[in-house]
């Protein structure tokens, strides 16, 4: 009995340490974002302090506002998500449900494109975009984001399409419905859940992307992950503001992650089996 008790306590301590380790850096950033510059620098670190929204006011509405970058991030992520889904849903349906020659190869090709290291894509892409003047534009960034969002979305969606019983389509065809109509009216509603999960993942990946963004962004289009570097320099780091920007950059993805929590776990495991999921 005591041995069992001891093991239970040991388990609790170990798991609590893990929980703390994961939560702490995030909570600590949030706390620092609510401090004044003096409080941030206090030593020993202050856990109790008078919270203030000063840092948020400064980074959002002060000079060098981060607001345009947040808008950039949203435009890029939403644009990528819409275009990706418009292409991925039909493609995934075809790969999952239709019979055609070269289907195996097509599926393999989608997987294989994920093997390409992003740095190997950005070098030639940078040269091309520079030639046509698309550096520092939304269309340039969104186009290259398709290179990772499309294969991922297609494979994730294939796994959801495969779950629908074939009888549903057959019944629709027997009723004389066209293929397009069947897809739109019968199949798509069945995979609504899978489509929302895929949307969440595509948005997250686009919001979090950094390598392509750092090469292709400029003064017009600069997502928040790149813009936060303005707050750290060799001379000085604006601690409270940096914390506020980090929190603002985390907010949308944490929000999405937590509300879609159950589905995200499913999405990750489905993606794991199928070989999707990256970064």
């Amino acid at each position: 009995m005591t041995a069992k008790r001891l093991r239970l306590i040991a388990t609790m301590i170990i798991t609590l340490v893990f929980l703390l380790a994961w939560v702490f850096p995030i909570v600590w950033s949030v706390l620092n974002s609510l401090k004044t510059d003096q409080d941030v620098l206090a030593y020993p670190p202050k856990l109790i302090f008078q919270p203030t929204l000063e840092a948020y006011r400064d980074v959002l509405f002060g000079s060098g506002s981060i607001l345009p970058s947040l808008i950039s991030s949203f435009v890029i992520s939403i644009g990528t998500t819409i275009i990706t889904m418009l292409m991925a849903v039909p493609a995934a349906y075809a790969l999952a449900r239709l019979r055609f020659r070269g289907k195996k190869f097509a599926g393999f090709y989608v997987l294989a494109t994920q093997m390409l290291p992003p740095v190997g894509i950005i070098i030639p892409y940078f040269l091309i975009l520079r030639n046509i003047g698309w550096i520092d534009t939304y269309q340039g960034i969104i186009l290259i984001y398709l290179s990772f969002s499309l294969p991922f979305a297609i494979w994730l969606l294939v796994s959801y399409f495969e779950d629908i019983p074939f009888e549903m389509e057959e019944a629709a065809y027997l009723d004389g419905a066209s293929r397009m109509r069947t897809l739109w009216r019968i199949i798509i509603p069945q995979v609504r859940g899978g489509i929302s999960v895929t949307i969440v993942f595509v948005f997250l990946n686009a919001w979090n992307e950094f390598l392509f963004a750092v090469v292709l962004s400029g003064n017009t289009v600069r997502p928040v992950t790149v813009a936060m570097f303005n707050f750290v320099s060799v001379e000085q780091t604006l601690w409270a503001k940096l914390a506020a920007v980090s929190v603002l950059a985390m907010l949308p993805v944490v929000f999405l992650g937590v509300i879609a929590q159950k589905n995200i776990v499913k999405g990750l495991t489905v993606g794991a089996v199928k070989g999707g999921g990256r970064r």
Partner: protein, 310 residues
């Protein structure tokens, strides 16, 4: 939308064959129409750049000195083989990948086993584990670089001072910097391994464990003989996915150390980036990127062979 079916149906003899052919052909056309947009986009954003990359890797192309540009054949690759910085970055890549993947799987599996036995509180872990995984590696890197690891300011340094280890230059010392970037990657992605393995554990059949309990198998025996073999496919899958990501990790290392101090944390991926976009040697940078692709393919080949092997 029925005329084709109706006409095919009125034919004699090979009616069902014709109908089948007509339908099969329509299905093929429909599939082609559905696949076309996505595949054109993939060709344009992945395959075409790859061909172009291999092409540029055969050129001397310096954005800083465009007058010296020209075709050099395999010269970039020959230079690469005798480039110490290439070999050191390859070594850093392998150490970084090996260490982070091993840590993620070991910690993720251990934690999944512990949490699986918990009667209450499992949901807490499921929610908390989401947090690091959904964050941008760039933001994660920034937080660690400043609020966690900055000397005489970060929490880790504060704990080190209080533990009697003293203030350390966590990102300025080559060995500590390497350990730091490994820890940061492991911090962010262990929850992924944990979530996938926990889900696989939850799907294992209960009755095998019941039988093992009747046979009075010890906890270790149950783990070694039942859990581990059954989890093997999931573990191998996690290893493959995480290896691919670790090999091309960029944002966290870029923000935390920028590859430094010197080239202590410069993985091959980062070296290709620095060569191309900091030193502006696009041709040589392309050759480095091709080398990274070859390394990636070799490693994934080995891993997929492992997956198939029993």
């Amino acid at each position: 939308m029925k005329p084709a079916i109706a006409t095919a149906g009125t034919a004699t003899g090979t009616a069902s064959g014709d109908l089948g052919q007509v339908l099969a052909q329509r299905e093929r056309r429909f599939a082609a129409a559905l696949l076309a947009p996505a595949f054109l986009a993939l060709l344009a954003t992945t395959t075409f750049p790859l061909i172009f990359l291999v092409w540029t890797s055969a050129f001397r192309m310096d954005l800083a000195m465009p007058f010296a540009d020209g075709f050099v054949g395999v010269e970039n690759y020959r230079a690469l083989l005798s480039d110490d910085r290439f070999w050191s970055s390859l070594l850093v890549s392998l150490v970084y990948t090996g260490a982070t993947v091993a840590l993620q799987v070991a910690l993720g599996l251990a934690l999944a086993l512990l949490v699986m036995d918990m009667k209450r509180g499992q949901d807490w872990f499921r929610v908390v584990a989401i947090l690091p995984v959904v964050l941008s590696p760039a933001v994660v890197g920034m937080i660690w670089r400043t609020f966690m690891l900055a000397p005489e300011f970060g929490i880790v340094d504060y704990l080190a001072i209080n533990a009697g280890i003293g203030s350390k230059n966590w990102l300025g010392d080559p060995l500590l910097a390497m350990i730091s970037v490994i820890v940061i990657h492991t911090w962010q992605w262990t929850p992924f391994a944990f979530m996938v393995l926990l889900a696989s554990l939850a799907s294992l059949p209960e009755d095998i464990y019941e039988a093992a309990r009747l046979d009075r198998a010890t906890t270790w025996q149950r783990f070694r003989r039942i859990t581990l073999p059954l989890l093997r496919p999931a573990i191998v899958m996690v290893v493959i996915m995480r290896t691919m990501v670790a090999l091309t990790a960029f944002a966290a290392i870029f923000t935390v150390t920028g590859g430094g101090p010197g080239t202590a944390t410069e993985i091959l991926n980062l070296y290709a980036y620095r060569k191309s976009f900091t030193e502006l040697s696009i041709g040589y940078g392309s050759a480095l990127a091709v080398a990274l692709l070859i390394v990636t393919l070799l490693i994934s080949g080995v891993l997929f062979a492992l997956r198939r092997a029993k």
